[in-house]
């Protein structure tokens, strides 16, 4: 049943006009206490790290704001913003080094108490005492000491013991506050260095192609109720939006800090070049995708184009007691609630198809006899990587230089919709450029 996402397509066209490989100006996502470094550039795609300030402190503010969805809806959200910066969803990506001791100072401007828990971190303290659950009248109300509503604050301190990918999230009224958006990603670099995911030589990756994909969802009815201070029965909870890094497709592939997504700074477009026999090719090291799920269900995340190699789960390298390699290739990585998984990706031109020397042995019908949905395509007009061919008159091409595009998406397919309309939601793209780039 053909439906057209008019607004979504307009968005797409808008972003495709912007140069993909250009740099986007940073827009208030510094989380350090230091003055905002205006003009600092971040790459269009890939991880955007926030680092602690010179006192090893991250300053965050729990606050409200709005995000936009590709069907031109606005959803009221709560999230962790850099103190002094604008609202953003999800919270900033906190990057630190193994062994580093950091303090997170949380200020709360929300109308109810909130907190942060750091699953996977040991010996977290708050104002010098161990983080511990909070009870009121015998009821568990928070998994950690809270910052009181309407201006309270709290701090947490820990030493990042083990490298890996971790969630930080509200520990208070979680089924409401996590859906409202109080979530973020944290990356701990191993002592072996930032070119490794873990302290194993086989966890080396290409640092230029490192990605975070925080998977989440939202029921806009809950958010509307919270905004209007009305009650909401969680038994009636039913999600209608699904996100990668707080965006739904096609917004997911817009660059980091896209101007038209002012509260959703993080791209999830994956982009790399083929693995090759050239020993100097930096893409012989794989790309790394750090998956995190903060939703209440398991997301079966499926990349097209190639398997991923799952090298770690929940910040633990997959290895045996004697260091045996227990990593595995999967075509679907199931990321459960509160879990993380690290997977590496490459793409290899295995058969070396070439229009002159090794043509694909089937007759491709004239493209005018095929269907280009909505008269637009990412296809180059040629099946060969790095080649372009003529497309039928009237078909808009988003292709630059014969690169390939593959989907990466939840395979619970109702989750790749925007409020029920196909072709949205928890979906992003993997772009394989020709050797040498565009």
């Amino acid at each position: 049943m053909t439906k057209t996402l008019t607004h979504a397509r307009k968005r797409l066209l808008r972003w495709w006009i912007a140069p993909l490989l250009g740099l986007a100006l940073i827009a208030g996502i510094e989380t350090t206490g230091a003055p905002k470094a205006s003009g600092v550039s971040v790459p269009a795609t890939g991880i955007v790290c926030s680092h602690p300030d010179s006192n090893n402190v991250f300053k965050l503010t729990a606050r409200d704001g709005q995000i936009s969805t590709p069907d031109d809806n606005l959803v009221y959200m709560w999230s962790f913003a850099p103190t002094g910066g604008g609202f953003q969803y999800p919270g900033p990506v906190l990057c630190l080094n193994q062994g580093q001791t950091v303090t997170i100072v949380l200020k709360n401007t929300l109308p109810e108490d909130t907190s942060i828990v750091f699953p996977g971190q040991d010996n977290v303290t708050s104002s010098g005492v161990p983080v511990s659950p909070v009870y009121q009248g015998g009821n568990l109300v928070s998994l950690a000491q809270t910052a009181k509503a309407n201006g309270g604050s709290v701090s947490y301190t820990f030493t990042a013991g083990q490298p890996g990918t971790y969630i930080y999230e509200s520990g208070t009224d979680q089924d409401k506050q996590l859906d409202m958006g109080l979530v973020g990603a944290m990356v701990v670099r191993p002592s072996m260095g930032a070119a490794f995911a873990y302290n194993r030589s086989d966890s080396a990756f290409n640092p230029d192609t490192e990605y975070v994909m925080l998977l989440s969802q939202s029921d806009p009815a809950l958010h509307r109720a919270v905004e209007r201070n009305q009650p909401f029965d969680m038994k009636a909870y039913h999600p209608h939006y699904w996100f990668v890094n707080g965006r739904s497709f096609p917004d997911t592939i817009a660059p980091n800090n896209a101007a038209w997504l002012p509260t959703q700074p993080y791209s999830s477009l994956v982009e790399f070049q083929p693995h090759s026999s050239d020993p100097g090719n930096p893409f012989n090291k794989p790309s790394l995708v750090r998956y995190l799920s903060t939703g209440p269900v398991t997301y079966p995340f499926h990349p097209h184009g190639n398997h991923g190699r799952v090298i770690a789960r929940d910040g633990q390298a997959l290895q045996g007691p004697a260091g045996q390699d227990l990593s595995y290739e999967k075509y679907t990585v199931a990321v459960g609630p509160g879990q993380t998984a690290d997977a590496t990706y490459t793409w290899t031109d295995v058969d070396g198809w070439n229009p002159d020397t090794k043509p694909i042995p089937v007759a491709i019908p004239p493209l005018a006899n095929l269907l280009f949905k909505d008269n637009a395509t990412w296809y180059s007009g040629s099946p060969y990587l790095g080649y372009k061919g003529p497309l039928p008159v009237g078909v808009t091409s988003y292709n630059e230089c014969g690169e390939y595009y593959f989907m990466m998406h939840s395979h619970a397919l109702y989750q790749i919709t925007n409020f029920g309309i196909a072709g949205g939601g928890m979906l992003t793209l993997m772009r394989v450029d020709p050797p040498g780039g565009c």
Binding site: M1, N306, Q324, D325, T332, V350, A363, C401, F406, Y414
Partner: protein, 445 residues
Amino acid sequence: MTGNWNDRRFTRRAALKAGAGAGAVLAAGGMGILRTGGSARAAGNGYTGVKGEINLIATDGWISLPDPRNPTKYFPDGYAPNNRTTYLFGFRDVTSMVQAARTATGNPQLIATDVAAIRAQKGKIQASAPLIYVDENDDVTISLSNLGFQQRPDLTDGHTIHWHGFRNALSLFDGIPEMSISVPIGRTFPYFYKPHNPGTYIYHCHFEDVEHVQMGMTGVVFVRPAQNKAPIAGHPGPYAYNDGDGSTAYDREYALLITEWYLQSHWEDAHIQQPDWSEFKADAWFFNGRSYPDTLQASSGYDANGNPIGFADPRLAYQPISALIKGNAGERVLVRVVNIGYQQHSITLPGLPMKVVGKDATLMRGRDGTDTSYLAETLDIGPGEATDVIITMPEPSGSPYDVYPLFDRNYADGYLTKSGAHAGLRTELRAYPAGTLPAQTTPNA
């Protein structure tokens, strides 16, 4: 490396030359429900699989679920023809019909839509889609012809084939309408593959995916390993993977494709209504497009004109793939459990350990060769995942066979039939005394 390439048009004749030899293998008549051409078990070591061109059609149709004790507005569907309950989209295999027409006319360039008997299959899909199996490193072409919908002539949907999990895919053959092309009504497109990695995969349409997958355009495709052609001494094949040690050798094999349907959306598609896909809520569950107790019926097929034959129950004429698992004591039975539904499932076989030897078309081995296979009685399997298990058949205590139920641990995944049976994700494994069953000739037989 970047260059302009002037659209090089290969002739169909050149393509046929490339696929030569393959056609002969496929010319066998009596086209089964499974993509069985050339798959007869060769003396000694295993199957030869399919080479060359496989012809699929895409259309719509009606299938049958066990009658519910409590009918609803949506189920059974009031539009359904006699003996049927539910509207679907899907695929059919017409390879041998195309081959026969090419032979009869002497015209090797005939395509599926040239053949009147194939055009007459509009409105007659099967659930689940044909089981396809091929050999590692062979050239494989799946030619997809879109016949349009019988029930919904107002819809002009395209269709595609997405080979789910194909490593190092080419974007043109990855089957994503937005990333390349889709096949409009009345036209045919050759999806080309050279599979280099053995194991169990899925294929499905990716056009308006949440709808077309839910509506039934899903099937299993698996790749047989090169090791079948160079067997391991002392461990006769065939094998699930290139294991190097015979640890994945098996005697019989079965594929179980899990789907679940949101029956309201099927009714709405038949009745020209617009489903809200974010409201997905499953209410019927299937192995190979059949709900228990239909899962136990034998596999059936089609005649040379595409009409169903060999079915035990006319209700199941277009649900031809059995989910019943059988074996003789001591035999090793490979079961490929595949989930292309939208829910996580927990498939259990109480009393018999299953050895998990592969997942997602990957042998259970670390990069350093560490064996990561394991024994399980329950398989946790999510949407878009596949798990390969080998079960060693026990000695039966009774006659003529012992029954081991294989089912979804979530008993709520089902509904009560008129006769009080639990319709859903449930089938059986039957253990016979050694030497009872003849050698298996096709999967799921």
